[in-house]
Structure formats: C-alpha cells, structure tokens
Amino acid sequence: MESSKEQHLFETETCLIILNVAFDQYNASLLNYFFFFFLPRLMTFILEIKRSSGLRFRRVLNETPVSVLRLPRGPEPNSRGFDPTSPRFIALCPTTLPSSSSSSGSADEEEQRLRAELRERFLRTLLLMTGKRVRFDMHEHVRVHARFGASDIDVLNLQVCDLETPLGVQREALLRSQDVIACSFEV
C-alpha cells in the first residue's frame, strides 16, 4: 500500500512536470500522453486517498478488535445433533428404561435401601479407623500392621503411617486397596 502511494506521488510529480513542458512547447503527442495516461492515474490516486482516509483514521484511533475464546462450533457432518449425553437432554427427556411393575419396583427399592445402609456403615468404619493401628491382610499371605491415615475418594488407595514391613518400618506409605483382602482393628 505504502509503496504504491509513493509510486502514485512520483507519477503525479512527473505529470506536473510534463504539464509545465506542455505549456511551454505545445506538443500534440505530449498532451495526448497526459490525457490518456496520467489523468486517469491521477483520478484513481485521488479516489484511493478518499477511500482509504477512513482506514487511516481508524489506524490513528488505534482500535483493538475484541478477543474471542474460540469460534462457534459448526454442525457435525454425519449427525443431526441433539446430543443425548447433554445435561438438558437427560433432564428433559423421559427415561428410556423399561417401566417396572409395582412388585419388582418395591424389591428394587428395598435393595437400594440396603445398599445405602451398607455403604454408610463402610464409610463410618473408615472414619473410625483413622489414627488406629490396623492389621492389613493382603494377597500372597502378606500380613502387615500400620497406622491408618485416610483413603482417597474412590477408595483406590489407603494412606498409612509406620507400616511394618519385613524390610523395616516405612514412615509413610500408600497401600493399593485392590491388594487388601481384609483389615481389622481394635475399636
């Protein structure tokens, strides 16, 4: 853009020089050259200045475009959409599970109640176990004692202190729950 501007300026200057020469020595061919070559270029140059003046003004103002995090997601090519795993679909659509009869319905409810009770008992046992010396019975006839600390949210790992192993006492350790068969402690 800038180089073409300079080129235009150069052409305008050249055009003016030629005009002066033309006035001094009337020369038909020079005038023809002026009218059919330089005048159109001069007009284009003026029009370009007018059109770009808006852009130049904006550069002067230094506007920054608003940033976007990403573009809106477009349609998937092979699907009509309406994702069945979306929260709205799950909340607003009727359940697709087969409706149970009343008798088996109550059996399901009873089972659910028992499961909830057992789960609660297990969690309370874990709470009671914290800080106590616990005996862990593990695979391959491994039996170790340790002070129980905590378990993680999915009960995959158990954090223990002062784990007594054949190699010595481990100050801090993590036991993998799937390796533990049973744990017992004094209440």
């Binding site: 103002l61 230094n62 506007e63 920054t64 475009p65 608003v66 940033s67 976007v68 995090l69 990403r70 573009l71 809106p72 997601r73 477009g74 349609p75 998937e76 009509r80 959409g81 309406f82 994702d83 069945p84 979306s86 929260p87 709205r88 679909f89 607003l92 659509c93």
Partner: protein, 329 residues
Amino acid sequence: MAMRQTPLTCSGHTRPVVDLAFSGITPYGYFLISACKDGKPMLRQGDTGDWIGTFLGHKGAVWGATLNKEATKAATAAADFTAKVWDAVTGDEVLTLAHKHIVKSVNFTQDSNCLLTGGNDKVLRIYDLGKPEAEPQEIAGHTSAIKKALWCNNDQQILSAADDKTIRLWDKNTKEAVKSLSFDASVSSMEYIPDGEVLVITYGRTIAFYKAHSLDLIKTVDAPASIHSASLHPDKDFFVAGGDDFKLYKYDYTTKEEMESYKGHFGPIHCVRFSPDGELYASGSEDGTLRLWQTAVGKTYGLWKCVLPEELSSENSEVLYCPPAEIKA
C-alpha cells in the same frame, strides 16, 4: 481504549438464512433457531452460537421458524406446503400440519398450546396442539400472501402483515379485524415486544414503532438503505436494523440517532433479533451465515473476552487457544 466489534460467525447453512428466533431464558441458557432456504433449520446455543442440532424433514425452503419460551418445542414453516412442530430437545418431528400453499410464518402462544400459521394462501390458521387432528380455526381477510403473523396482547389478539401492504389486528375469539394499518411499501418485517406492547415494523427505508393495542404510531426512523428487518432492545435503549447494503445499523431509540454501523456480512441482511437478555443480537443474511454481535462491545460474555492492555502483549496468543468454556447443553 477503543474496541472494535468482533462478530461471531455461525456457519453451517448452505443457502440464505431468511428467519431467526430466540427462545426465552431457560435454566440451560437461551437458544436460537435459524430458518434457511436449504430446508434444514438449525438449533444453536444462543450465547455462543454453538450448533446443537438440525431439524431434518422438510422438503422445501424453510421460510419461518420459532421456538417456545422454554425451548422445548420448535415450529417451522416451509415451501413444501407444511408447517412442522418439533421436539427441540431430541430433534424429532412431532407434528406435520398440511396447508394449501407455501407457509411463511409460525408463532407459539405463551403457554405453547396453540400455533398460529400464515402463508401464501392468505388465511391465518390457529392449531390446538393438544388436539392436532382437529380442524384449525381460520381467519380470512387479507387479499394477498401473509408474510408474518404474531400473537399479541396476552395471546388474545393476532397481528398479521401481508403483501397487500397492510397490517391487521384481529381478535382471536371473534375472528374479526379490529384495526388496520396501510403503507405505501410492502412491510418487510414485524416484531412484537410484549413488555411495553411495542410493535417494530420495517418497510422501504423506514423503521416504524407502533403501540400494539391501538396501532398508534410512536415514531419512525429513516435509514440510509432499504431495511429488511429491525429489532428493539428489551430495555428499549436502542434498536438495530439491517438491509440491502449488507450493513447493520445501531440507533439510539430515544434520540433516533445512528450510533454505529457494522460491516461483516457478504449479502443483504434478512433478519435481525436481540437475545432475550439484550447482551447480543443475531443477524441472518443472504450469504448463508448467522453473525452474533455484542451490544456492549468489549464486554466479557459468551465467547467474547475482555482483555486488558497489559494482558494483550503477554497473553495475546493464549486468548485464542484457551480451553473451551463449559458447554451448557
């Protein structure tokens, strides 16, 4: 520091977008439906423009589309002489209503129980969605094709705009025309704002505002080019209009002054609508795209992020590559 508007372009349609409508605000955000001449109306998340689904089933260009307030139902009007009602959650077609000519406009009542349709057969029809097999109530009177039909005044009256250059206000129960307005040019669009009972009408280069009960003129505003659609902000501070010159104009409603104009579309703009919360407006164009524009340029909303000057130089590249924001539906 001056901020320049960055419109969000929603692609996906292959033909011109002729109509769009927003739902109300639901616990999952608000939604946008777009009617397109390719026969496949699309549902999008209103604040981000993300595509949710496409309603497949029409065999002709879709001329009108609407959502109910809770965004659980959608209705579309098409050139295949049918209007269809869809479940907007699953995307399934619920109902097909056969007509005798091209259907141009559909509108739900506030309780989503009745559907109003209007089209080239010059007759307004009211369908009871609880009894779809029953014959619809018909209101005749227009002398040429109906372009737009809307419920108004608490769903007791109907407003219709037709190619006979009139807008008529009908009573739903008596089926008689209560009032009528005549224009010199054909009305290109009509919008009804229930809160405040304002009617926004565009014809030629004029955007006119009327009181919906009495059809009394409030004010008119003239635009630089022929306007196809206009929408008033919910708080009635400003309105936007778009038309033949591909530009979107933003006007102050009180002073009628042009505040801004935005370029971006590559074709005439067919429809403009404000979102229900007024934070953005959507425009549909002949170029097949929908663009979402911010009302308050630079504000953090949806996919737009306000970046402070000190952050610009250091985090510029990070902004565009942020992990995607949580999707609502």
